[in-house]
Structures are given as structure tokens and as C-alpha cells.
Symmetry: C2
Subunit: 313 residues, 2 copies
């Protein structure tokens, strides 16, 4: 029921995920509304519906958005009970993150969850920013774990082998940064990851590392600053009259949340993907595929193995 477009885009996205990518899906939402959409697509028998009695379209939502019978809680509960292994939503990120954290809990050895977002770089690839807003006041050891979460994400979703990890700070040299970054840097050096050292703000989109680690406050501010700046620059270019808006559209799309497939909430006992509120069906389908891949990749177990590799017998 989430997202700016509600079931009209979410349901076709789920149908595409099943039909074209073989991802089994259960839809949590108002059964009547969802079944009507499914019937319209000739997919009534393709997808089960978990009825969410309090599910209301996004546009009508007030403070009761995360009532017990909302599609958010019903969907997350399917994962908690093991009926699903991943949850995908186009609803509000904040509500999804806090609800998922309390319903699913952290997956040991992970202490706190982190949001991972893949940012497009000038080199044509992507850099994973983690944490983009789940844990705003992490301790240094929690921040260091985000590097493990980001490494797993880059391996599983982006298919990068041995991804390099940078720590977002305010100077390239070791020892530069605030208290948190300085303490985290010392811990990161001791982890079994490809730690590159510090990266600065102007390197976020430069493609110098595969993963950039920061606290959820700084990460969220940077993510939104980059989105706002891209819009501002394109608006100025368009206003200069030197180029048609159509010619700029492909560049705009690169920095549009629509295309980077959503944010993954990593480190919980269950995979959670938050697609952008503006997501259309194709983005919802891509989010379902990424969620399936992350769930198969077993992020927490991968981190346990990395931290405590068993000797070959």
C-alpha cells in the first residue's frame, strides 16, 4: 500500500518480480484492493495476499500509519515468523526502519542496523554509502561493523569481489576527523576487509572506493545533499538555455533515487529493502530481486564467517 502510487505500481512490480525474475512474492495490503489489481493483471493465482485491515493508501495517511494492522507491520511480521525472508516497501523510510528494527531485531554479531544505498559514480559504477540514516549515533565499534555490512552488500548486490572501503572524514590523512571517525578508523584497520583509509566529501561520487562508511546522521545528510545538488546544477544548466531538458534527462536519472533501486536495511534478522516513494513498477521489481539476492547472501552469516573463518579440515 506504500509509495506515492500505491497498489497501482506496487502490484504490477510484484507481478513482474514473479513472472520475469522468479522471485516468489506475498503481498501485504488491503486484500480487496490488492486482489482487484492482481485480477486486472491476470495474476490472481500467482501471488498470495496477507490482509492488512488498517492498510490505507499513502495519500490518506496520518499518524496511524504504523498501526498494528498496517501493511508495514503485517509484511514485517511475515518475515519475523519466517513466512518470508525479505520485506520490500515503498513507504516512508523512517517508519520502516524503526518498525523493522523493533520487530526483527539485530542479527548477531551485528549490533545495530544500517541503511545501504548505491550511489552512481562518475566512473560509471556505483559506491555503497552505509549508513544512510538508520543509526544516527553509532559507537565506534558499531560504525566499524557498518564496513562489514557494506562489504557484504557490495559483494552480493553489486557483484564486486573484495570491495574497497573508505571511511568518510574531513582529511585524507590518518587521524583526521571527529572523535567517532578517528576511533572507528583504528578499528577498521584491524578488520578483514580492504580498508582504503579516509575519503572526503568530494570523493563520494568519484568512484575511488566501493563502499563508504559513515554514521547515519552524516550519511543521510550527504545522501540528500548530493540529490539536492544534482537537481540544483541541472536546473541551472537548463536555465542557461544551452541545452534542452530532454538532453539532460539521462543525467538526472543517474542521480534520481528511482534508479538506484532503493535502500537496503542491513544487519537485522530478515532482509528489508526500502524503495523510493516515487518508485514505479520496474523499480519495485528490481527491489524484489535485490531483496532476494541479499536474503540468499545471508549477510549476518557472511560477517560471522569473515570475522571467524573456520580452518579447513
Amino acid at each position: 500500500m506504500g509509495g506515492d502510487h500505491g497498489p497501482a505500481e506496487i502490484v504490477p512490480g510484484a507481478v513482474t518480480a514473479v513472472r520475469e525474475h522468479g522471485v516468489p512474492v506475498i503481498l501485504a495490503g488491503h486484500a480487496g484492493v490488492v486482489r482487484e489489481e492482481l485480477a486486472r493483471l491476470g495474476a490472481a493465482r500467482l501471488i498470495d495476499v496477507a490482509h492488512a485491515p488498517d492498510a490505507v493508501p499513502m495519500s490518506d495517511r496520518g499518524a496511524g500509519a504504523i498501526a498494528g494492522g498496517s501493511s508495514l507491520v503485517v509484511g514485517l511480521d511475515l518475515v519475523r515468523r519466517g513466512s518470508g525472508c525479505a520485506f520490500v516497501s515503498a513507504g516512508p523510510t523512517g517508519a520502516t526502519v524503526s518498525c523493522a528494527a523493533s520487530l526483527l531485531g539485530a542479527a548477531p554479531p551485528v549490533l545495530r542496523p544500517a541503511l545501504a544505498v548505491a550511489l552512481p559514480t562518475v566512473t560509471g559504477g556505483a559506491t555503497v554509502l552505509v549508513d544512510a540514516g538508520a543509526t544516527v549515533d553509532p559507537s565506534p565499534d558499531v560504525l566499524a561493523q557498518f564496513a562489514l555490512l557494506g562489504t557484504s552488500y557490495a559483494e552480493i548486490v553489486l557483484g564486486v569481489s573484495g570491495p574497497s572501503v573508505g571511511l568518510l572524514s574531513i582529511g585524507a590523512e590518518r587521524g583526521k576527523g571527529n572523535r567517532l571517525a578517528r576511533r572507528a578508523a583504528a578499528l577498521l584497520s584491524g578488520l578483514p576487509i580492504a580498508f582504503h583509509g579516509n575519503v572526503e566529501g568530494d570523493e563520494v561520487l568519484a568512484g575511488v572506493v566501493d563502499v563508504i562508511v559513515t554514521d547515519g546522521f552524516t550519511g543521510n545528510v550527504v545522501l540528500k545533499s548530493v540529490e539536492g545538488c544534482a537537481r540544483a546544477v541541472l536546473r541551472l544548466v537548463a536555465a542557461s538555455g544551452a541545452v534542452s531538458p530532454e538532453a539532460l534527462a539521462p543525467v538526472g536519472r543517474r542521480y534520481d533515487a528511482e534508479t538506484h533501486g532503493g535502500a537496503a536495511l542491513l544487519g537485522l534478522a530478515g532482509t528489508v529493502l526500502v524503495a523510493h516513494g516515487s518508485s514505479r513498477a520496474a523499480t519495485v521489481a528490481r527491489a524484489c530481486v535485490a531483496a532476494r539476492d541479499l536474503a540468499r547472501g545471508r549477510v549476518a552469516a557472511r560477517i560471522r564467517d569473515r570475522l571467524d573463518p573456520r580452518p579447513a579440515r
Copy 2:
């Protein structure tokens, strides 16, 4: 002696400040080199030189950049002793900030200094980002004072009356943010400023407020992220072939540190302006004018008056 171009741009900039703007200047640097440049410009008798025996061109600098006889220390010492009221440098920001903080000290009631940078907005104006990197771990009361410093800067340098102030955070609602932002928000509400509430990362360039307050770590990361993002987007637009690089140049200049005239280090017993290392003569001259205006504006005294207005007698 600072900056990428050294005396070849700094000295003409100083001469312009004197001749065209009536700003009296003393040049701190290697007397022989500086006097030669002055003579070339017919300005030998226009400007006094404070000899800095250890002054070496930027390109030759190593760890000894802030030796006692460097132009940085000699120049700041002129301000400390009252021979000058403001110091302008195109040298490295980090060294200038730490050197200025220790030599000049904070000006009561200010507890810690902050770097203010005027960012160009899509609305054609500017928003002051403060702190852009001077104090990386401020307490909530120090962060709240940055709002007073930013307000003074916007009044004096940008000529804004009653500037509105936003707190950079990760949600528009009150109570959103990390521990530091939440505590600072409560303090900001009680200050005699036009406090707008929280602003998010995507509003940094939107022109919604005149001043954006944040800690020096987040501020520096955001400043560099915006600069890096603007470069990245323009590079992608140019690569698309839809527009010539020449047509993009004016947009690029808007986000180029060259044009926003440098960062002002506020809250010390003496005004300090750090122009970008790439500054040419015109930018150096503008920095001298801004430094003169800030010194005349008596930032710390202005804050004392604002916090403790005397009743009219």
C-alpha cells in the same frame, strides 16, 4: 606566500584591495620576493611588508609550513599584537584554522571558532554554511553559538537583515536528528535569532534559509560533497555531448570555491579569512574587502549585544 599561485596573485590582489577598495593592507611574506612584486606593480610605497624569514612558496612546502617565521605565523601575529585587525590567507585551511585558534584565542562570549562559507543557491542568492570545518566535535551550546556567528556573518557580509537560521538535520520535524542536533535545537529555540527549525541535506542549496548551522565535521563533509557533486554532474552533462563545455562554464563557476570568496573563521579575537588555494588576484581582493567588513562589524561584540541588549536609557 600561500595559495597555488603564491605572490604572483596575492600581491596584485592586495594592491587592488588598497587602490580600488581603500582597504589598508600589510603583506606578510618573504620581503625580497614581495617587494619585487610590489615594484613590478608600481606599488612599492603603497603597502608595508612584514618579513617572514621562513616563508617559502606553497609548492616547496613540507611539514615545516607553520614554522615560527612562516608568513602564516607572522601575519597572524600582526593581528594578535593589534597592528592589523584581520588576516587573509590563501594557504591551507586546516593549518590556518589551528594556528589562528591557538594564536588569537576565542573572543568572549564565543567559546569555539567556526568557519562560515557562503554557498550559491538555486534562487540566485547565498546561504551561509557554518561550521564548515573548524570545530569538529562541538557541544550543543557551542553549536548553538554557531547560529549567532552565522547570523552576524549574513548581516555583515551578505547584507541580510534578520537572517533566518536552519539547523542541518535528518528530518524536518522537531526532535529529529542525532543527539547533538536534538540538544542544539532546543537551545536554538531560545536564542534571539530567526530560527526556522531543521533543514535537510537536499535544502542546502535550495535557498530556504540564510544560515545553515551544523558541526564542523558534517559541515565540511557537506561542503565538499556539494563541490564534488557539482563537478560530477557537469562532467556527465559534458560527456553526454548535448552541450559545449564553454556553455557549462558559468554554472561550474557558481559552485567553484573561487567565486564564493573564501571561508571566514569567526569567533576569534581577530578576523581571519581563508581564500581558496586557487584564488586569483580578484578573489584575494574580495577576501580583503570581506575581512575589512567583518572586522568593522565586530562579530563578537555584536553577539554580546544580541545576547544581552542594554535597555535604552
